[in-house]
């Protein structure tokens, strides 16, 4: 294969319900590298795409949560395996998107893959760490189970194109939620690559749905969507984040806003989209 061969370029599309549609709107937008060179025409998702994605996420949620915690852990671990085998490609895109040196991009990918492994190990620990038995004063067996909030919307970090994205989507997914994420507006390609990998990692269709596009246009649709239970506002700040928080309050959504105290080992994001369901059962003969 000679160097002069004309390369075959990829179309970057949405991920909805395990399929890769172009936006139903037919729109795309130009994404450049950090240094301003043309990188790709990426599908520009619409409000309708988001509604389709929420419907897919809702349909997938009961099945995802209904599978065993062991199985969910294996699926997420499989994603780490896929990412490891395609780490060169991921690193190349992280470098282009974030303007990092090859070495720094590779380190970022390593950390992202290690986070996938971390979350793979959480799925069957959550019930034990965040749940428990409660010694009520009466003849009842009483236990508290962590359960997923349901469908979680994520406005992905604008800067951290892969590492941030992994945390933002896998925290809710490992807890049994399904996710609709608006990827980084200017740096979407690493997340789109990761989305492609989920399809070969036994992620059931609809568990992770990725819509690329213009954040300011898309985010209000998720914040106001009545069938979205929670929202992670990682990718918006200031007045925009405040406005989305106010919109989300109309349906009493769980709203997660990252802060400086969040480190790699805090569980704040994991707990953000976990509910506690407490069951009382009578004890008797």
């Amino acid at each position: 294969m000679s160097d002069s061969r004309l390369d075959v370029r990829k179309t970057y599309k949405l991920l909805i319900n395990g399929a890769f549609p172009r936006s139903e709107s037919g729109r795309s937008y130009e994404v450049t590298t950090a240094s301003g060179e043309f990188l790709a025409n990426v599908a520009q998702g619409s409000r309708k795409d988001l509604r389709d994605a929420v419907a897919a996420a809702r349909a997938a949620q009961a099945k995802w949560w209904g599978s065993t915690a062991y199985n969910r852990g294996q699926v997420i671990y499989r994603l780490a395996e896929m990412a490891e085998s395609r780490r060169a490609e991921l690193a190349e895109h992280v470098a282009l998107a974030e303007g990092l040196s090859a070495k720094k991009a590779q380190k970022s990918v390593s950390r992202a893959i290690d986070r996938m492994v971390w979350y793979a190990g959480w799925t069957d620990k959550i019930a034990q760490v965040f749940g428990g038995a409660n010694p009520v004063a009466g003849p009842f067996f009483n236990f508290s189970l962590p359960t997923p909030s349901g469908v979680v919307a994520v406005i992905a970090s604008q800067n951290s194109s892969l590492e941030g994205f992994v945390d933002e989507v896998l925290a809710p997914i490992s807890a049994g939620n399904t996710v609709v994420v608006i990827s980084s507006e200017r740096r979407p390609t690493p997340s789109i690559l990761l989305g492609e990998m989920t399809v070969t990692s036994d992620f059931p269709p609809g568990v992770l749905n990725i819509v690329s596009g213009i954040t300011a246009e898309l985010a209000p649709t998720l914040a106001s969507h009545e069938d979205v239970d929670g929202i992670d506002l990682a990718g918006v700040v200031g007045d925009e984040a405040n406005e989305l928080s106010i919109t989300a309050a109309a349906s009493i959504k769980r709203v997660f806003r990252p802060n400086e105290s969040d480190t790699a080992t805090t569980t704040r994001r994991l707990r953000a989209f976990i509910e506690t369901s407490t069951v009382w059962h009578t004890i008797g003969q």
């Binding site: 009961a62 760490v129 965040f130 428990g132 409660n134 010694p135 009520v136 004063a137 009466g138 009842f140 009483n142 508290s144 359960t147 909030s149 349901g150 239970d229 007045d239 405040n242 928080s245 106010i246 989300a248 309050a249 109309a250 349906s251 009493i252 769980r254 709203v255 105290s261 805090t266 704040r268 707990r271 509910e275 506690t276 369901s277 407490t278 069951v279 009382w280 059962h281 009578t282």
Partner: protein
């Protein structure tokens, strides 16, 4: 045979003599000020309002209407106490204060029960046996956490949030105060508590108890007033955390108002709990459980089992027995120890119940109302059951917050789960069946924060309580209840 018939007819006409508790046990003062920085003071604008006994509409006492300035003073006192005293008090010392408060509530339990019943209208049997003992138990439980926070599962050395603004409802006045204050204080926060407008008195007795416990001034401040007082507390920039229990409509407004601040928020809001009854359930216990689930506390319970989902095969029998049981409920003087159902808490709440039940008839449901004789004065609503209710009826969708049960039917467990989850709320549900595997199958699929199996309306300080979806977020009670007051 004849004797037996005679006995039955005598039983049918059995009359109970009144067994009233004495109102004088309440030892109430004619008027109360605001509890700020350890002592009672007059409100800055000298505005007062009266609190009524809903069972006879007589004035019980006059209380202070806290202005925004008063709220400001209360928050300042809480901040000062947090920075100078409470954050420097060890967990072990905080623990002992809370144990003291628990004991003082137990010592003054009878007085508190009478105050609660006078102010709220709930039967004295319930305030005596449920509200007050549980309030004491809540302080007792969280007392033990104050010096064990490192072991609560939120990492080493978890820190308090700071000043907590806490707004509570009128349905369980003292118990809700305990649910808010006990975990907040155990975690090391200071508090400004706003009791409900129609039921401020037991919180003011609690203020006296805090004085007797020698809790440092400013650690707990209690500001009485109406919605404007609550709004001033929600909007106050010196408050780090808001905890609210009340309606979903007000909760939504509060979430919007704090959305652009750094304030932490927990909400415990409304519900439309489904009580699911399978054909194999033990019928006597189940009938009592359904009755307790909806008529306890006049149905003024956010987790009330207000939608009965009954399996079709037993629907007729269950309805017949429920209607007969409702006839036997003793409705009337809340101070009478034999009373089952007391007064509706306020004229406004009564109007709301009347409005929604009128829709029930208008939309085609079949109404059964107890033929009990209601007192002339006060706010009263006879226990009511609606049958033939469909999912689209307002009485099946909206929280009535009164002694009104809507009965729907189902055939399969799948249908029961689908109907139970067909609501924007998600606070509590009941499941009645002798088959444990089915109960757990249903429980797994219900979108609710609390699920009672073969029981209903049970509360315990060790057991987390709170909702999903539009019933709010955050938990009160248990280890989980600490999270709402820790910076974790």
């Amino acid at each position: 045979m004849t004797e037996k018939k005679l006995a039955n007819s005598q039983l049918g006409s059995l009359e109970y003599d009144p067994a009233p508790e004495s109102a004088s046990i309440a030892r109430l003062k004619p008027s109360y000020g605001l509890f700020i920085d350890g002592s009672f003071s007059d409100p800055s604008k000298h505005e007062q309002f009266v609190t009524l006994n809903p069972a006879n509409e007589e004035v019980i006492a006059t209380v202070a209407q806290a202005s925004a300035g008063d709220v400001d003073a209360a928050v300042a006192a809480a901040r000062h106490a947090y920075e100078t005293v409470w954050s420097k008090t060890t967990g072990a010392e905080r623990s002992k204060y809370l144990f003291r408060i628990a004991r003082l509530i137990q010592e003054r339990a009878r007085e508190l029960a009478v105050v609660e019943t006078l102010d709220n209208g709930k039967p004295i049997r319930e305030s005596r046996d449920v509200d007050i003992p549980l309030a004491a138990a809540h302080f007792f439980y969280y007392a033990g956490w104050a010096d064990k926070l490192d072991h609560a599962g939120f990492g080493a050395d978890p820190r308090p949030i700071g000043v907590a603004g806490q707004i509570i409802p009128w349905n369980f006045p003292l118990l809700m105060a305990a649910w808010k204050l006990a975990p907040a204080l155990a975690a090391g926060n200071t508090c400004v508590l706003k009791p409900a407008e129609t039921t401020p008195l037991s919180a003011l007795i609690l203020a006296e108890i805090l004085q007797q416990a020698e809790l440092p001034p400013g650690v707990v401040n209690i500001v009485t007033g109406n919605g404007t007082t609550g709004a001033a507390l929600v909007d106050h920039p010196g408050v780090d955390k808001i905890a609210f229990t009340g309606s979903t409509d007000v909760g939504r407004l509060i979430q919007q108002r704090v959305a652009s601040s750094q304030k932490r928020l927990t909400l415990e809001l409304g519900g439309k709990g489904a009580n699911i009854v399978f054909e194999d359930a033990p019928i006597d216990e189940m009938i009592e459980g359904i009755i307790d689930g909806i008529f306890f506390n006049q149905g003024h319970v956010c987790c009330a089992g207000s939608r009965l989902l009954v399996q079709e095969s037993i629907a007729d029998e269950v309805l017949r027995r429920l209607v007969r049981r409702v006839e036997q409920l003793r409705v009337g003087d809340p101070m009478d120890k034999n009373t089952d159902v007391g007064a509706i808490n306020s004229a406004a709440q009564l109007a709301r119940i009347q409005e929604l039940t009128a829709f029930g008839e208008g939309e085609g449901a079949t109404r059964y109302t107890s033929s009990c004789v209601l007192p002339e004065n006060g706010y009263w609503f006879a226990p009511t059951i609606f049958a033939d209710v469909s999912q689209s009826h307002r009485i099946a969708r909206e929280e009535i917050f009164g002694p009104v049960l809507s009965v729907l039917t189902f055939r399969t467990p799948e249908e029961a789960v689908a109907k139970a989850n067909n609501t924007n709320y998600g606070l509590a549900c009941g499941v009645w069946s002798e088959k444990g595997s089915r109960t757990l199958w249903v429980a797994q699929r219900l979108r609710a924060g609390v699920i009672w199996a073969n029981t209903y309306n049970r509360f315990d300080p060790t057991s987390p309580f709170g909702g999903v979806r539009e019933s709010g977020f955050g938990r009160e009670g248990g280890r989980h209840g600490l999270e709402a007051y820790l910076n974790v």
